[in-house]
Symmetry: C2
Subunit: 340 residues, 2 copies
C-alpha cells in the first residue's frame, strides 16, 4: 500500500506523505498555459484537460497523492443549477421553496460524466506510479452557503439569516445536497479514486450549535455511506471550535488549518490521522524561514499518523521551487528514529 | 458605578449590561441621514458629527455603554500615512525600510485632536445618564495588516509573506504603532473615556506561534500602559486557538465571537470578564429565533462576569426594532435568582 494510504489508514509511518491543496493550480506555469486557452469550466468539463492538469504537479514533483482537478460546485448543474465563475462561483440564489423543490436528484452516472472519465484517465496513469488519486466533494452546508448567498462572501450574512428564517427549507436543501453528494462520491470511487476529501470550507463560520444542527448530521451520512469503500478526509477551516464534534465524524483523517499546532489538535482528535498544517504563507517566505516552519510542523505531527499538507490552498504567487524544497524536506524527515 | 463598569471590573452582576459593536452605524436611519450629507472621514473628523453619531443609539435604546464613533485607522495620518476609504481603508503599502523609518511618532495631543474634542462633547452628555464611554484603538498587528497589504483582504497573503521576509522591519513597524497607540489611548482616557477596547480584528488569521511573536508582546505593552487608568477589553475574531495566550493578557475582559459557547470559553479564560457573544446574524432571524439564541448566550454567560454583546459588528440589514427587543430581553434576564 502507498505511503499516503498507510498514513491515512492510521499508520504512524516512518516518513510523512505529502500533497498540497490546489497543487494543480495557478502557481504552475504549465497550468497557466492551459488556462490561457480555456475557461475554468472547459478545463473542469473536458476529461483530457482535467486529467492533464491533475497530473501536472505529479509529473513535476515527488508528491505522494494526486487530487482530481475539479471544483466543489461541479455536481450542481446536474441538479438544475446554473453555475458561472467570475472568477468565484456565481448562481441565481436558491432560497425559495419552489427553487429548492424543483432541484433534481440525478443518478450517479448523470452527475458529472466528464469527471468520471477524467478520473479513469488519471487512474490509468497513476497505477504505474503507485500514487493514489483523491476524489472530493463540497460538504452540504458549504455548498448551501454559495447557493443561498448567490456567490462567495466575507460574512455570508444572507445565508446565516436564511438558516434562521427558513430552517425547514434549509434542511430540505441540505437533504438533497447530501443525497447527490453521496452518489457523486460513490461515482468517483467506482471510477478509481482511492480516497476522498469532504471540503467543508465555510463550516468555521458557524457556531458549534449551528454546526451541530445544520452540518454534522449531513456530513456524517455522507462519510458513513463511504465506510469500507475508501478512507475519508474531512476539512474545515478556522474551525478549532468544532474539534470535539469532528472527533466523532466517520472519517479516518481531519485536515487542519495552520492556526493550531498539531500536537494540540491531536489531544482533541486522538483517533484521527492529522493532515496539515503548514501556513501556505510559509512558501512565500525565504527557503530558510520555510524550512524552520516546516520543521515545526513535522515535529508537531509526531506521535501519530500524519499526512503533511498546507493548512489551506497554495497561493498563486508561490514559486514552484519552494514546493520542491518542501517535499524534499518532508521526505528526509525521519519520524521513527532508532532511539538508543 | 455603572452596571457596565461593574461587570467589566469582574463583578457577577444581577443583570448583564449590553452594548453592541457598531451600534452607531448603518442600520440606523438617523446615521444614514448624516451619511447622506458627509463622507466617512468628515463624520469621523468633525467633533460635533462624531459626537452626534456616538449618541444616536444611546438616545434610541437603553444601552449600557457608548463607544466613540471613529475608526481603527484614525491615528495613522498623524504618523504621516494617508488613509482613504473606498469604502474599506486603502493606503499606499508601507513595506520598505524607508517607508517605515519616516513614520512619525506624534505627541498625544497631535494624534487626533478632533477625537479628543468629540470624546469631551460626548462625555459631557453621558455624565448625566451614568453611561460610560468606551474609547478604542486597533491592535498593532491588525493595523500593520492593512498598512502592509495596502487594504483589506480575504487572506492578507502579502502581509503574511512580508512578516516572514522582513521580520526585523515588522518589529520596527509594530514598535512604532505600539508607541502611538499607547499615547492615543491615554489621550482618549484623559478626554473622558471610562474604558477602552483594543480591536485585534485580524489576529485570528495567524497561527498561535506567529501571534506569540508578532502580536502578544505589543498588545501586552499597550494594555499594561493603561493599568490602573481604565479597565480594558481585548477583542479578536476567529481566535479560539489563541485563548491560552489571551488568558495572560493585561486586560479585564475578552470579547468573544459567536463561534464558541461562553461556558467553554470561561474554562480557558477563568479570570476574565467575558463579552459577547450572540451571532450578529441572530438579529436577522425572527423575534422568536433571536430570543432563543439570546437566551442561550445569557445562560452560557452565567457563573462569572458577563457583558452582553454581539460576536461581531451588527449587520447593516438589521431592523433597529430587533436590537430594541434584544436589549429588553437582556435586562429582564435575572442572573442571580433567589435559589429556594
Amino acid at each position: 500500500m502507498s505511503l499516503f494510504l498507510r498514513a491515512l489508514h492510521g499508520e504512524n509511518t516512518s516518513t510523512a506523505p505529502i500533497w498540497v491543496m490546489r497543487q494543480a493550480g495557478r502557481y504552475l506555469p504549465e497550468y497557466m498555459a492551459i488556462k490561457a486557452k480555456s475557461s475554468f469550466l472547459e478545463m473542469v468539463q473536458t476529461p483530457e484537460l482535467a486529467a492533464e492538469i491533475t497530473l501536472q504537479p505529479i509529473n513535476r514533483f515527488a508528491l505522494d497523492a494526486a487530487i482530481i482537478f475539479s471544483d466543489i460546485m461541479t455536481p450542481l448543474p446536474a441538479m438544475g443549477i446554473n453555475v458561472d465563475f467570475a472568477p468565484g462561483p456565481v448562481v441565481t440564489p436558491v432560497r425559495s421553496v419552489q427553487a429548492i423543490t424543483v432541484l433534481r436528484i440525478p443518478q450517479a452516472a448523470e452527475i458529472a460524466p466528464f469527471m468520471q472519465k477524467a478520473i479513469e484517465l488519471v487512474s490509468a496513469e497513476l497505477i504505474h506510479k503507485n500514487i493514489p488519486l483523491i476524489g472530493f466533494a463540497g460538504a452540504p452546508l458549504t455548498l448551501a452557503a454559495y447557493l443561498v448567498q448567490g456567490s462567495g462572501s466575507k460574512d455570508f450574512e444572507d445565508f446565516r439569516a436564511w438558516l434562521r428564517l427558513e430552517p425547514k427549507l434549509a434542511h430540505l436543501l441540505l437533504e438533497k445536497l447530501t443525497e447527490v453528494t453521496i452518489s457523486y462520491l460513490q461515482m468517483q470511487v467506482a471510477a478509481g479514486a482511492k480516497a476522498i476529501q469532504l471540503f467543508d470550507s465555510w463550516a468555521g463560520l458557524h457556531s458549534a450549535r449551528m454546526y451541530h444542527e445544520f452540518a454534522f448530521p449531513y456530513n456524517q451520512r455522507i462519510l458513513s455511506a463511504l465506510q469500507g469503500l475508501v478512507p475519508r478526509i474531512y476539512l474545515a477551516v478556522g474551525a478549532s471550535h468544532l474539534y470535539s464534534q469532528m472527533s466523532t465524524l466517520a472519517c479516518e483523517a481531519v485536515s487542519v488549518d495552520w492556526r493550531t499546532p498539531l500536537q494540540q489538535v491531536r489531544l482533541a482528535l486522538p483517533h484521527k490521522t492529522l493532515q496539515g498544517n503548514l501556513d501556505p504563507a510559509a512558501l512565500l517566505g525565504t527557503p530558510k524561514t520555510m524550512a524552520l516552519e516546516a520543521q515545526q510542523v513535522l515535529e508537531a505531527g509526531l506521535g501519530g499518523a500524519h499526512i503533511f499538507n498546507l493548512g489551506h490552498g497554495i497561493f498563486r504567487q508561490t514559486n514552484p521551487d519552494m514546493l520542491s524544497r518542501l517535499i524534499d524536506q518532508v521526505h528526509e524527515f525521519q519520524r521513527l528514529g532508532d532511539t538508543p
